[in-house]
Symmetry: C2
Subunit: 371 residues, 2 copies
């Protein structure tokens, strides 16, 4: 583990597996459990870095796949790295590019050496390998890099999943071998589809290679929620206590709190930002679909219990008007609120773990989280 | 003139007709000459009120036509007026709705009683009269309201223009008669197309009715620029010195400074905001079309002499990337810069008038203004 990086486990709850911790990076400290807003193209859509900070964001995720294709990681490297490029001086986690290749390119070809695919922007032929993913992420200069893997569909057969898993582990080794940036740490990703023995095998191999943190990949991709939590519950006690744990692509508020109760420290998801742009807002009084006619003359604030910029200054009537009129400010104000709602949930979760009352809090508030 | 409103003429330049003044409204004081960014649908596209203020905006314009159709002026009135609705506590000028009806509805029917037109949003039949325009603008609670008029095409015949002009003057009288909001002042609009005698007649009639300020309408709508300035030059000495003067819909930086040299105090235009969204940026070193490939690796700031938020924190390379990637933050950062560029020009203009050197400044910098 790099000297610049550290995970401190402050506390584990008595009534659940929930953990309180801090992750230290060269660009600042993150209190966990944490939610990471997604800044796919070197911007968390619609927001400035100042707005993210003002609304309690401590780390963002950016997508290697997108930045590799546009503007290209060398462009960003030449400007001085991703932090400088996008004017965000807090921690950044970059994914490996794998997930996006497979979700945006139906005809991607996976070989032992890497993935051949066509750019979703202009159709150009592209190639990504473990070594190239490491080079890109080091060019970007993120604080946390992820290994390249093949995210296996939950519908894949045992046979296919096993084979893919073995290749992903060889890729993980190649990532580790080609990663040399001591300002950046590397997380392994546990794959293995819906099969516990393959998941366990994946974890054991990753532990053997050695990583600074462990993600559970290939979840929240359409499998039943019960199955997702069954796997998280199964893996959680097997994960090393002294390393951060990250479930990728999760999720809705309820999924996040359930993840935390199962010992997960880190989450990312496009839901708060994407829903915001579609006019769906998470509030302490339930989901608000802001285009609804009933808000036409509603002078009240979006969420009576919220202190975000949007809730401090605007009425539901104005938010509805902006959305209906397709004004860009609508997307901004909605995104600010949803991001702050997520970050506020994480803050509340950390407070409840401190007081050893998260499980109780969850049970009393299941409904509020089910937005 | 309302007690809440006042125009103070601080100085007239020695070398030109340029004037320095202040306009006092219930929502604050405006230094003139001033540029008013356009907030068509109760938002200056992409920006928050805080960003407008931080970048030296002292008054905005909002469009009666758009707010009348959506969300409706009664909605805004119920929320507490336009200032509260959009969270802008500075001065607001609203236009009368006339110009938009004619530019967005090719089949609008003008009768003595008012204009019949179809909504550009849903095709519904609508009617706007001088009395209704006053009611809407009073519902909105803007600081400065404009009379409803027919903006005549510069291609119209003398005969048509004369007839239209006479009707516009009857409408101006009806506006005055139905305007009762003492927190709001009413400006008259000089029409008369490209004909000096009709312009003079329009002005004289408006003076007789009595208004708190005078706009020159029907300019910057496709007529040759020379003709526009010939008319402004002609009208300027006829306008009362103690009232603010406003040329509607103007313009580019060069047009504005020429307007100021001819004694105009107020301007509005969608150019800085619209150009920004199209990626065309005004800078002290010329126009920048940010999508151009040559900016791909350009680590320099957009404008070396600019202190706006965008120029303080981002490179041309990042601005190009955001624009190419169609990110919303691109539209924001571009708009911030163009608005600040315009407001900075106005500030510079006011400083030069103070020093009695605007004409000289203009002659030395014609090229810089010709962006």
């Amino acid at each position: 583990m790099s000297k610049k990086f550290g995970f401190e486990l402050i506390k584990t709850a008595h009534d659940s597996r929930a953990r309180l911790g801090t992750i230290t990076t060269k660009h600042g400290t993150i209190e966990t459990p944490v939610f990471m807003p997604v800044g796919t193209q070197a911007t968390v859509k619609t927001l400035t870095p100042e707005e993210l900070k003002e609304h309690d964001t401590s780390i963002i995720l950016s997508n290697t796949y997108h930045l590799f294709l546009r503007p290209g990681s060398k462009v960003i490297k030449n400007i001085g790295g991703l932090h400088k490029f996008m004017h965000w001086d807090g921690p950044i986690l970059t994914d490996s590019g794998g997930f996006q290749i497979f979700s945006l390119n139906k005809i991607a070809k996976i070989k032992e050496e890497g993935v051949y695919f066509n750019s979703h922007i202009n159709g150009s032929k592209q190639f990504l390998s473990p070594e190239i993913s490491m080079e890109i992420q080091q060019d970007l200069g993120s604080d946390i890099a992820m290994v390249l893997d093949e995210p296996v569909s939950p519908l894949s057969s045992y046979e296919y999943t096993k084979k893919s898993n073995e290749m992903s582990l060889r890729w993980a080794r190649r990532c580790k071998d080609s990663h040399h940036d001591e300002n950046q740490v590397l997380f392994g990703i546990i794959q293995g589809g819906m099969f516990k023995d393959l998941r366990k095998q994946s974890l054991e191999s990753l532990l053997e290679i050695g990583f600074d943190g462990f993600a559970i990949g290939g979840l929240s991709v359409g499998e039943p929620k019960d199955l997702m939590f069954e796997l998280i519950e199964y893996l959680s006690p097997l994960l090393p206590k002294e390393k951060p744990r990250y479930v990728m692509g999760v999720g809705k508020p309820l999924d996040i709190i359930k993840g935390v109760l199962n010992g997960i420290d880190m989450f990312d998801c496009v839901i708060p930002t994407r829903y915001a742009r579609n006019g769906t807002l998470f509030t302490s009084v339930g989901k608000v679909v802001i285009k609804n006619e009933k808000y036409t003359n509603d002078a009240s604030k979006l969420d009576p219990n919220c202190l975000c910029y949007t809730c401090r200054h605007y009425s539901r009537a104005y938010l509805r008007h902006l959305f209906k009129a397709q004004e860009i400010l609508s997307l901004r104000l909605n995104t600010i609120h949803n991001i702050f709602f997520y970050n506020s949930i994480m803050k509340k979760i950390r407070e409840e773990i401190k007081k050893d009352s998260l499980l109780d809090f969850y049970e009393r508030n299941v409904k509020a989280f089910s937005v």
